[in-house]
Symmetry: C2
Subunit: 139 residues, 2 copies
DNA sequence: TAATTATTTGATAACTATTATCAACATGCT
DNA sequence: AGCATGTTGATAATAGTTATCAAATAATTA
């Protein structure tokens, strides 16, 4: 398991438990996953894990900013491990989410718009909804 | 009440009820409002309105695309009447939401990024989280 | 305007999602 | 190994959303 993750957990007095690591591993493999997806996946490894444990971990990991929430229109939130800022292509049909690199231009442009309103921008979120390559074809 | 709204309701066999109009009026006045905010506000006019009625109306209005959902990170969704595409400045402290015009540049740039992945973009959503003018000062 | 039909409303039950509680247990430290 | 503290799993408690249905209302027609 990644050193920097364990590092960050310890920094915030979060213990390195097998359940927690499996949740993080699931997020790594899925890229983006909902509570239910995480729960089902982690159960394959920890047969008796409680759904409450998943919720509690997600909350802790959000607090220490190891993961972030992805609130979606007309669907349940997904979660992802925080890495470089990026944007999302979200398929309205199959729900798949693909990362794309947020161009510098867009980010600069956005913070310019924000500061014009005397708003202190901290985070820019760009989501593009539509149909993914696959769903576009099999329609 | 706006003609085009009534028009659109009738087009979709949605009856023009006082409750429905008050919900739309609340959204107009608030700009962006959550279910609870709408419920509390509409109750001032229709003392006995049921929360279920608010939910049912929001669902109907979403379906006919008179309103849209605004899914937020770590907060309940807000709803707004659909008008020209625009972006949002979302204050992490007080929760206020301000509309800003999404620049043409950003939109073009976004759909370029999308089509490079063979993704059929339909809607671009840009949210900027941070501190609003007010909260930035009184900190 | 009265009758007819379809939709909506309000009350509330049912269901789903999330959080709180707590004793047993595991982790990290000395 | 022993201690302190955080975590887990079970489950109760809350909160949020959807389903049900009879009564009421809106729209249409005669
Ligand atoms: Mn991502
Ligand atoms: Mn808006
Ligand atoms: Zn798809
Ligand atoms: Zn603010």
């Amino acid at each position: 398991m990644k050193l920097d993750i364990i590092q960050k957990l310890k920094e915030h007095d979060l213990k390195v438990t097998p359940q927690r690591l499996t949740i993080l591993d699931t997020l790594n493999r899925y890229g983006h996953a909902s509570i239910d997806e995480i729960y089902k996946e982690v159960k394959k490894v920890h047969l008796s894990i409680s759904l409450a444990t998943v919720y509690k971990n997600i909350t802790s990991l959000l607090q220490v900013k190891l993961i972030k929430e992805l609130a979606l229109n007309e669907a349940k939130s997904k979660y992802e491990i925080i890495k470089e800022p990026h944007s999302h292509l979200i398929c309205k049909k199959c729900g798949s989410i693909e990362d794309i690199n947020l161009s510098e231009q867009i980010e600069q442009n956005a913070s310019k718009l924000a500061s014009a309103k005397e708003f202190a921008a901290e985070e820019t979120e760009l989501n593009i909804y539509g149909l993914c390559k696959n769903c576009k074809q099999n329609n």
